[in-house]
């Protein structure tokens, strides 16, 4: 390669590195201070310690909020898949008036600010005289994230070779057997992808949860309520852990994506930020 060729890319590479640093430097600071012996104050950090992590380990309020968050995320995943997969099938397999509109509308909760989704769900639950609790948060997350399940599975269905389903019918399997033996196994990657994404988004979600919270806090709300009393290194520690968890999920999801050679998904096309938020 000659110099004229590399100059552009080298400059670009530097620029890309700068953007990357801009994104991740604050998180790095957060992570470093979670080991700072002097608490949140003082620069540079010194007396490095794992004390805050030990403290975190003993903090039962944090751990019960982690439990709540996991519970909420689990039911949000179940709910979103239960509604999202049939919606994707309907989009792929049937034609009905207003289908194109429906395809866009399904994405609405992703585009809508969480504050509006949260507020509207709150008003709905109040109108139905439901007590706010983890159930309402799970319902809220589940509804808001149906779109993720729908778009992931829809993309998978579009790539599915329909001749395979015909082959299954041809070999004597009825429609139900064909769905379970051929369609679902072929959608394994998009479904796992949707599960990871919904799970991560639900764990990190704060706006919708804020409106629907009852007596039990989810993890982000627990952190947020503590912030009002000032930042403690313990919060840095839990935040670092959340960051690592999210990073792992993204990497797993990415690995699945490259294995399945995923096409650009609807969610990504319309809401460029939707994926990074996790």
């Amino acid at each position: 390669m000659n110099a004229a060729h590399t100059r552009g890319p080298r400059w670009l590479r530097l620029y890309a590195a700068a953007v990357f640093a801009f994104l991740y430097f604050p998180i790095l600071v957060l992570a470093v201070y979670s080991f700072n012996g002097e608490g949140v104050g003082g620069f540079p950090p010194h007396n490095l310690t794992c004390r805050w992590y030990a403290m975190l380990l003993d903090d039962s309020a944090i751990w019960s909020s982690v439990g709540n968050s996991l519970l909420v995320a689990f039911f949000a995943v179940v709910l979103a898949l239960a509604f999202g997969i049939p919606a994707a099938l309907a989009l792929d397999r049937t034609s009905f008036p207003g289908k194109a509109l429906f395809r866009r509308l399904v994405l609405l909760p992703l585009i809508l600010p969480g504050i509006i989704t949260g507020l509207s769900l709150l008003m709905l639950f109040v109108a139905f005289r439901m007590n706010l609790s983890l159930v309402t948060i799970a319902l809220g997350h589940g509804t808001a994230l149906i779109s993720v399940a729908t778009t992931e599975v829809f993309a998978g269905l579009q790539k599915l070779d329909r001749a395979q389903e015909e082959a299954s019918l041809d070999l004597g399997a009825n429609y139900w057997q064909t769905f379970w033996r051929v369609t679902v196994p072929n959608l394994k990657l998009p479904i796992i992808g949707a599960v990871l994404l919904i799970f991560t988004l639900s764990i990190d979600e704060i706006a919708v949860s804020f409106f629907l919270i009852g007596r039990n806090n989810t993890l982000p709300l627990e952190i947020w309520s503590r912030l009002r009393r000032g930042i403690t290194p313990e919060i840095n520690a839990i935040s670092t852990l959340i960051f690592l968890f999210s990073l792992t999920m993204i990497l797993v999801w990415y690995r699945l994506g490259t294995r399945g050679e995923r096409e650009p998904r609807l969610a990504e096309e319309l809401v460029p930020g939707a994926v990074q938020e996790g």
Binding site: E166, A167, D170, G172, A173
Partner: protein, 366 residues
């Protein structure tokens, strides 16, 4: 070549066919997609153990016809019967018909064994029997060594064999094959044609084979149904189709042919500068003359042969033969196939037998 043989020789080499009750009977099938009529009043019968090829250009409706028999499409009108039972009202999974798909449509998440076992397992056949029948089927297509492979890890030709085994293991009464060889390279293709034909004889199941390749159709079929624009142009044995094309379209689609548009008056046929005596009624006729039925004139051949002088315009070497394009002064220009004996130049004398110019009427353009 065949030119010296009388017409009756066409039927030689084929056993006289006494047809039993047909296995499959397609009755006046019509099908349209939106505004496009894909099939118009197709009626066709297939005998037990027969190898029938549906031949046609792309868009002729051949794949649609196959999909109607398999149950993936519904006809607008008409009926399909199999062995005394109405077939077209059954869902695909209730038909004793199996299909080999164009791109094979193997299940990528299942091993070769599980692919072949699929049909037997959904029928809840006993485990031991599944294993033995799958092994048998894989042995038949010489794929026993690949039982544990995934479809993505075997070659196109091997996938083809697995698809065959997967269909035949269910012991269908009829096997449908949708251009199964089109994805293979030329050599493998020829080899598979031979294997497929001998496999069909071995299992004795009726095959309906769809292709756009006339050579393939000629090499493999007991009968060929030639589809054109959703209508059957001719249904006949390969030899009948070749030597007695029902229409000018058939003559040109199956093999190469010179179409002589001539006018007959008082038993004399005229085609531009050529003329000869014939027993056709007065009027305009289109005759099909195969290039191999025209040859360089030799002294002492039959006196009623049509002899003419023509200039060699082009010579294409094709191995055993040369294909010439020759132009008579005052027309017509003809394709002539002669044994390859080196370059030919200038004006030469050619001849053909009147009996080899067969009537092949132009069908109405649709």
């Amino acid at each position: 070549m065949h030119s010296a043989l009388p017409k009756s020789a066409v039927a030689l080499g084929e056993q006289p066919v006494t047809r039993p009750a047909p296995l499959l009977s397609v009755r006046a099938i019509r099908k349209r997609f939106g505004q496009t009529i894909v099939l118009r009043d197709i009626s066709l019968e297939i005998a037990e153990g027969e190898f029938l090829t549906i031949l046609g250009e792309s868009g002729s409706g051949k794949t649609t016809l196959l999909r109607l028999v398999a149950g993936f499409e519904q006809a607008d009108s008409g009926e399909i019967w199999m062995g005394g039972e109405r077939l077209d009202i059954l869902p695909p999974y209730a038909r004793r018909v199996n299909t080999v798909f164009q791109q094979y449509a193997l299940f990528p998440h299942l091993s070769v064994f599980d692919n072949v076992a699929y049909g037997l397992r959904v029928q809840k056949i006993e485990k031991a029997e599944v294993a033995s029948r799958v092994e048998q089927a894989l042995a038949m297509v010489k794929m026993t060594a690949f039982v544990h492979s995934k479809p993505a890890n075997i070659s196109g030709g091997q996938q083809q064999r697995v698809a065959l085994a997967r269909a035949l293991v269910n012991r269908p009464r009829l096997l449908l094959l949708d251009e199964p060889l089109s994805a293979l390279d030329a050599n493998l293709r020829r080899q598979m044609q031979i294997e497929l034909k001998s496999l069909q004889r071995q299992v004795g199941i009726a095959f309906v084979f769809v292709t756009h390749d006339q050579h393939e159709a000629m090499a493999m079929s007991d009968r060929i149904a030639l589809l054109r624009g959703g209508e059957l142009e001719q249904v006949a044995t390969p030899r009948e189709l070749y030597f007695r094309p029902a229409t000018a379209y058939v003559a040109q689609f199956v093999g190469q042919s010179n179409l002589l548009r001539c006018s007959v008056h008082n038993g004399i046929a005229r085609c531009q500068s050529l003329q000869w005596s014939c027993d056709l009624p007065d009027g305009n006729h289109t005759l099909s003359l195969r290039p191999e039925n025209v040859r360089l004139a030799e002294p002492g051949t039959a006196p009623d042969n049509v002899r003419f002088h023509a200039a060699v315009r082009d010579q294409a070497f094709q191995g055993a033969t040369d294909l010439l394009q020759v132009e008579c002064a005052g027309g017509p220009t003809l394709l002539v196939r002669v044994p390859a004996k080196g370059p030919l130049y200038g004006e030469l004398e050619f001849e053909f037998s009147v009996r080899d110019a067969v009537p092949a009427p132009d069908s109405e353009e649709s």
